[in-house]
Subunit: 341 residues, 4 copies
């Protein structure tokens, strides 16, 4: 049984484990004030091309989203998100548990546009409704699509005109930035969004997300929020060491590029076999639509999520590749699939 279920099935890239082993007996400060974390933060600022951002390392995506969003908003302010957004449907009401409504927006492709936001603002005009304030986007999105630079520029302008906070969930930012369709550089992001995070967990780390706060007014006292939400690890070194290794050279991008290449193989070969896709995805998650009987057959040898029913006889499945996905397993999957068609 080989798994295409997600991009966190394996442990960490060996270089990361090695770094943990090598640094193991050095005594360090706790709570993210260790030398590894401080160095990782400096290194990340360099890679991002901005020394004036604040960077905090957290353990996971839900933790990062809830800590950041609850810190950024006042009690009556709400987030806006595509209906496919992770915070809306897959975080057990974590944002609402901090007191904030999320306004759901139907989209074609999981991406928000100024027109979407305009409609929300126009229908939230007085104090009997929440005040829409934070725009939550994910890149790549939960259905595999990615934001082009021009799309982010337009969102930025809209947010500036309407005093909105633009926040990007980057759980799979590596895959987005390494997509063949991408025209965005890591260093473009800080001037386009107010805060974002660089996902480590789904790109080769054991755990770890690097939250980058770009807008000055959102930076104050952020470590208080980290501690209050249980996000300040005693051995913060665990996070620092990993990000140091991922960004010391090109490892972070190499791992994402591998994941994308594996997805590209699947996409190309399935496309040749005339298999349709639920969404257009240039990143490491693809959603082929297959006959249900065929899905059952495949499940004998591979594990993956059945994403949604498409019609009585067909369903879309989700195939996720990662830094650890083996090329020969991808090839075997394609061959097995072709035999079954």
């Amino acid at each position: 049984m080989y798994s295409f279920k997600n991009d966190y099935s394996e442990g960490a890239h060996p270089r990361i484990l090695n770094a943990l082993v090598e640094s193991n007996f050095e005594q360090e400060e706790g709570y993210g004030e260790d030398r590894f974390t401080l160095k990782a933060v400096e290194l990340l600022k360099e890679r991002i091309g901005r020394t004036d951002v604040d960077i905090h390392l957290l353990s996971g995506g839900t933790q990062t989203n809830l800590t950041a969003i609850s810190a950024f908003l006042r009690p009556h302010e709400a987030a806006m998100a595509a209906s496919t957004g992770h915070i809306l449907g897959h975080e057990t009401g974590a944002i609402e548990a901090t007191g904030h409504k999320i306004l759901s927006i139907e989209t074609e492709d999981g991406k928000l546009t100024p027109a979407h936001l305009r409609t929300v603002l126009d229908t939230h005009s007085d104090e009997h409704m929440v005040k829409p304030k934070l725009v939550y986007i994910s890149n790549s999105t939960e259905i595999g699509s990615i934001y082009l630079k021009n799309e982010l520029v337009q969102l930025r302008e809209f947010c500036d005109e309407n005093q909105l906070i633009l926040y990007m969930d980057g759980a799979r930012l590596g895959s987005a930035l390494c997509s063949s369709e991408n025209d965005l550089m890591l260093s473009d992001i800080p001037r386009l969004v107010d805060a974002f995070y660089i996902g480590g967990t789904k790109n080769g780390a054991l755990i770890g997300e690097a939250l980058v706060i770009c807008r000055d007014s959102l930076k104050e006292d952020f470590r208080y929020h980290l501690k209050q939400k249980g996000a300040l690890l005693a051995k913060g070194r665990l996070l620092g060491i990993q990000f140091l290794e991922l960004f010391r050279d090109n490892l972070f991008f190499d791992l994402a590029a591998h994941a994308n290449r594996m997805a590209e193989m699947l996409r190309t070969e399935l496309g040749k076999a005339k298999i349709p896709f639920l969404t257009e995805s240039p990143s490491n998650q693809i959603f082929p639509i297959l006959p249900n009987a065929l899905i059952t057959e495949l499940q004998g040898k591979y594990s993956f999520h059945v994403w949604e029913q498409v019609d009585a006889d067909h369903s879309a499945i989700r195939l996720v590749t990662s830094w650890a996905t083996k090329e020969d397993k991808v090839a075997a999957f394609i061959e097995d699939l072709k035999k079954l068609i």
Copy 2:
């Protein structure tokens, strides 16, 4: 510079790192449903001597406390804690952020008794006040003391008589159980408290606390709370592998015993030198009272917390030992101190 600042200055015990390396490429389910976590949970149940408890692995102490306590209480119910309790003064209002007041109780030694609780109940009698419901204790406490079995039996009885939930923060449970004054076994705990956690972070793990829920009525839907509070790690294996290693044999206890032995050395030798202590501590945190000038001298070679001012010329410092504390460094510290007296 050698640090006695805390018990999380180093990484993890080498066997743990080794286990991570060896298991690294096995594909596993996410979110704590991996085989390592399932196995660790079974193993822990065995060690605890109870198959009917629920066990969840979380990343850190604040995270565990806030997730458990907010899951256990209804909105109008409050926790009670010794004024030295970690949730009261060192978790940035994490419990209050979930909506619950903590009632603070002054104690001599950081430990709660039925008499303490009686007073709180007697003064909280109607709906204009919160309803005291959960008793938070830590073992060992924040000032190094430990609970004897009989003391827990009395608390248990009081809680039963008054429909209270008894919750034990076990961030340093290893040290408590391995203390020379301890008369409690791990397998005694589930019938004495309603829930507790076994701290890994401060006893040889990279991160990880094992929350044990003993009372049936507190178990339902707990994984929802984990997810909502950001405590469900995608790569839950990271926690499972560590607890598996710690409890596969006697490692967890051996590490705690080492920490205690190092503290014992300090306590004995400082005692011989007629140095008084702020608290009576038979565990891995001790609080000698030293002249301020001497403290300044020591700070040239050792790092530790200055805990509190005792009088104009003296302060108590906190020395913490751990699984990784080196005996020769302890010996050197003692020698240096003796020279300075």
Copy 3:
């Protein structure tokens, strides 16, 4: 300028003011333990035909909804509501501010059915999503429709089968129960829902809603929740006196019947004039669709809400009648409207 804007434009029915004046100098206990409130509660139980319910008097609808729903749910549980539901779009995120998500359901007529709920339950199956637990319905709904007895029976059965809590917002319950299409009696409600409230503010009181808790497991400690949410008035007598007067005889129903009769006049005459309606409403809120130019003309003499744009040239307006609506004003409105067509 005459207002059809809402049903809270005037003060209270004169009998209520009179009762306040007459009781003014009697000394009473505070916080809802006064004799008037105790008597009102007994009287309401009689009218409801159930002595085993708990009844609490609160000041307003949002206050009642947020206090009840937050008391009834555990942190990971969510409410379900029609997308038109008051708690979803017109209470500034009050429910989310207590930590709970509301799952929005699109409906034809503002009313929920078991089929709606089935879909929500089917798509919320694990701990990565909130757990749907409370069904919020309003009767009459925000768009004027009412629940028939059989519809409530079906909801009740579905809730029983799925361990759901059925909660009815009765801000306009009087109008619903006095509708010509209604087949429900006040005394039917306690066996059909788990909790509901009888709205006073919109039916002749100055302020006041009577929350009736029917399910035993929801009753415990409810006064703590009232106090915590700021809902326990020091002079609770203000609420007790009003409900006593409304239910001493048939006043509550007489006032609602008047409001409905005024709406019926409007509906009938506008119908004769071939004016279409946005929703089918047999209660005291109606939504005629009118040419925009005509709306502008009417606004010169009458105030009302423009509810929503229907096409480029037409909009639906909301006309609300109340216990205080004057028949001659209704007649004048109809005449003015007919002239303008």
Copy 4:
């Protein structure tokens, strides 16, 4: 049985009821946008001597405290209060339910000083603890004492130096301002505190507190918070009409002066009888210490709170006078008491 239990045992001053009756059939906007409320706000600004403050009318004290404090603070910030403060012990954790810790400070007389605050700030220095931000004071305090102008000036200076928010609970502000020991004018308050409220409920209104926000940065979007917390009454006119009547002339102060005069009678005559007091109170709450047997006797004819046990044979009781307290009843109480000594 005559009650000295509190200052909310009776209804409202007859002029207020009369104003409700006279305005009853005027149609008004809802939610505090009616002409009465707008006029009351203008009138209050005049009386306060400041046109640049924002004023909102709410129904009760707990409601006002929780709405204001949760609106003013960010998630990690805490309030500080005297241990006798109403928000600490008599509001069922209402502030904590909005997510904020209250730091309790022991005082002699229920009043906070810069020295008290200094100690709290000095011991809350990093992100592992909440950030003390809002200073909650009540005037008069819960034990009857009042703040002198100079004491408030010192608090103001300390708050300015330390970026703290100074908030005054004025549930009994009328009594404080009309105390014979008072040297403060209503118009002094807005430059001394950042926000305060003028209590109506305990000074002749049916319900109603007027929250005055003086600091610009605290004003924004406050009506959203009102609505979210259930504090925006549909018939806001109920509050506007009352405050209009209380401040149209000197009624508010006349009522408070009467209450104080009644308390003064009690204090003087009990003093003559050598009865000691638990606290020095120049306002409408006094706390004589009486033999327990005598208390029991008095309870046959009068109702009041037994405040606390002083020694085995004596307890302090609380006697509260109000705008409605009858002079002949006070005289009778004194006579009865003297007979019993």
